[in-house]
């Protein structure tokens, strides 16, 4: 009896260690985002930090993929529809081994493989080029549809922005994914409540956004987008859902993890100064 209790304790401890490890990974990604944008002196920190927990969890705990073979046919696909947030994507790809971490410091430099928007022609691990908003989610539908046609088991993940959701094409994609019953497609809405000009609610309200996705025929969940447990659980539900694509509306904070960036519209597309970089890194220790 005692032994079993001990084992349970140990299990719990393992779980806790694993949880800490995942949180630590996300922190590492955040540090890299800050460092590479500060080094480039341009880029989009706010929307990169808001989706960090989602993309880190996808690549480290959920997706089947291989850095050694970025075009492996059976890999799960990923599309960053809100392409400007690519620093988070690049950091995760580097930590997974798609290219050296040192490459991150070449963000936006002339001739670098890491430019201001994801470009699948130059960056290993990028399946689809984005930068013009509202288009990535349609491509994700196409990839999921191809998976159905070819009877492949891969799954397709896509992250869209809340400002991006104002594009009509997002809703055309929503309709088609439900129509084709793309249950191999799982989307995240990085619901950080901000776009360039201010609060999404004041610029062009997208509410009631959960009801909208439901009405479009999607299995729709709402989570805390900074809770790794909730992200994993939601993707688990998506995986089990038949005949419907899943939309995970993730409540997030723009600039998450850096006190002076959190909830601040000014850090949408502005790099931290060197001093701000130091402060941010100390907060992310």
């Amino acid at each position: 009896m005692q032994d079993i209790d001990n084992l349970k304790e140990l299990d719990k401890k393992d779980e806790k260690d694993e949880k800490d490890e995942k949180a630590e990974k996300a922190k590492e990604v955040r540090r890299l985002i800050i460092q590479m944008i500060a080094e480039a002196n341009s880029g989009h920190p706010g929307g990169s930090l808001s989706m960090t927990d989602i993309i880190t969890t996808l690549y480290f705990s959920i997706m089947n993929h291989s850095a050694a073979n970025p075009t492996w046919e059976e890999r799960d696909r990923f599309v960053l529809s809100k392409g400007h947030a690519c620093p988070a994507f690049y950091a995760v790809l580097a930590l997974c081994g798609y290219f050296p971490i040192s490459e991150l410091m070449n963000l936006r430099k002339l001739g670098s493989i890491l430019q201001g928007h994801p470009d699948h022609e130059v960056t290993p691990g990028v399946d689809f080029s984005t930068g013009s908003l509202g288009q990535g989610i349609s491509a994700a539908c196409g990839m999921a549809l191809a998976g159905k046609i070819d009877k492949k088991n891969y799954r397709v993940y896509v992250i869209i922005g809340d400002g991006e959701s104002q594009e009509g094409q997002v809703w055309e994609a929503a309709m088609s994914a439900a129509h084709y019953k793309l249950d191999n497609l799982c989307a995240f809405l990085d619901y950080n409540k901000l776009q360039i000009d201010g609060e999404v609610e004041k610029i062009m309200n997208i509410e009631p956004v959960v009801d909208k996705w439901k009405a479009f025929g999607w299995n729709t969940l709402r989570i805390d987008g900074h809770s790794i447990e909730q992200i994993i659980e939601a993707v688990g539900i998506a995986h089990k859902t038949k005949d419907k694509p899943t939309m995970i509306v993730a409540d997030t904070i723009k600039g998450k993890g850096v006190s002076f960036m959190e909830g601040r519209v000014g850090f949408h597309g502005v790099a931290p100064t060197r001093d701000q970089e130091q402060q941010a890194l100390s907060e992310l220790m």
């Binding site: 001739g111 430019q115 201001g116 928007h117 470009d119 930068g131 013009s132």
Partner: protein, 321 residues
């Protein structure tokens, strides 16, 4: 060398002329409505927004909707100015612009920010084909201003003009070339800046700056050029072009755009259709999307600097002999 009558003695830069021009227009014309798509500071419409909040509408990241809302406003007699980066108000909304704005000859003013290689953000954000797309549309007037003076004068002029207009818009530090006292922008009118007999340089938009910078270098090489500035790509000033073409055998065009269906192509058409028989060199992007990078880097990489203009002219003159 003949001194140009319009050019400031000391040219420099002017900060955010469009922002001021739009506020001034708002003061004088109450029918002007400004539409934006989540890029208020970047497109310099924030001044108008703060001054005339009742006539400002931020449609969100939804350019197609923005364009057709403008059409509805214009049908009711308002004068809408539609804004986003040049790529998004042309490529992204092409069908809307074609079928609603151009086909019905609707009085919508389309303002495309950060044209061509003045955007450092890479191919998704660099409008290198906007002149081509817009020039192709019947009824559309297409303008690529070279400096702050032209911007300040063109904004009220396009509001006055009845019918659809596409105008490229530089932002923040904009070249200041023309003397506002002496220069008078007119839609459809070219400006002959200098007359010479060895070569005819024809420039538009931000490239006028580089063309002007090539003049002293050409002088060093004893080359005396004609320099013609075209700010209205359509309807183009055919008379001025035919006259400039008669000055010399060699013509060189330079544009912040693909060489296809922008300035260079327009000139080629005029030369061919009028049987002028000039030799034409077109400078601009050649059948490729541009790389990301600073304006200086991109002008160098795509060989669009004053030095390259001189090299091309020397080459052209040598081949002629």
């Amino acid at each position: 060398m003949q001194e140009c009558k319009y050019i400031l003695a000391k040219s420099g830069q002017d900060f955010a002329p469009y922002k001021r021009a739009l506020v001034m227009l708002g003061e004088s014309n109450k029918r002007v409505i400004v539409l934006g798509a989540d890029l208020s500071n970047s497109t310099e419409i924030d001044g108008f927004r703060d001054r005339f909040p009742d006539r400002f509408f931020n449609i969100g990241v939804a350019e197609q909707n923005e364009m057709n809302i403008a059409v509805g406003l214009a049908i009711e007699g308002e004068i809408p100015f539609v804004h986003s980066f040049g790529v998004f108000v042309t490529r992204r909304v092409y069908e809307q612009v074609c079928v609603q704005v151009a086909m019905q000859n609707i009085n919508v003013k389309i303002v495309g920010s950060i044209p061509g290689l003045t955007s450092r953000l890479g191919p998704t954000h660099q409008a290198i084909d906007d002149l081509a797309l817009m020039r192709t549309l019947p009824n559309m007037t297409v303008i690529d201003p070279a400096d702050a003076t032209e911007i300040l004068q063109a904004v009220p002029a396009i509001a006055e003009h009845s019918g659809p207009v596409y105008i490229r818009m530089m932002r923040r530090e904009v070249p200041l070339i023309f003397d506002p006292e002496k220069y008078h922008f007119q839609i459809g009118k070219a400006a002959c800046i200098q007359e010479g007999q060895d070569v005819t340089i024809i420039a538009c938009g931000v490239m006028l700056q580089n063309a002007l910078a090539s003049l002293p270098l050409l002088e060093q090489n004893n080359i005396n050029p004609t320099l013609l500035h075209i700010s209205t790509i359509k309807p183009i000033d055919t008379t001025a072009i035919i006259e400039a073409a008669s000055k010399s055998r060699l013509i060189i065009t330079i544009e912040n755009h693909l060489i296809t269906n922008g300035l260079g192509s327009s000139i080629a058409e005029i030369i061919a259709e009028n049987g002028l028989g000039n030799t034409l060199i077109r400078m601009g992007l050649r059948d490729e999307f541009a790389a990301p990078g600073t304006q200086e880097y991109l002008f160098e990489r795509y060989q669009l600097n004053s030095r390259h203009i001189v090299e091309k002219i020397l080459e052209g003159l040598k081949n002629k002999k």
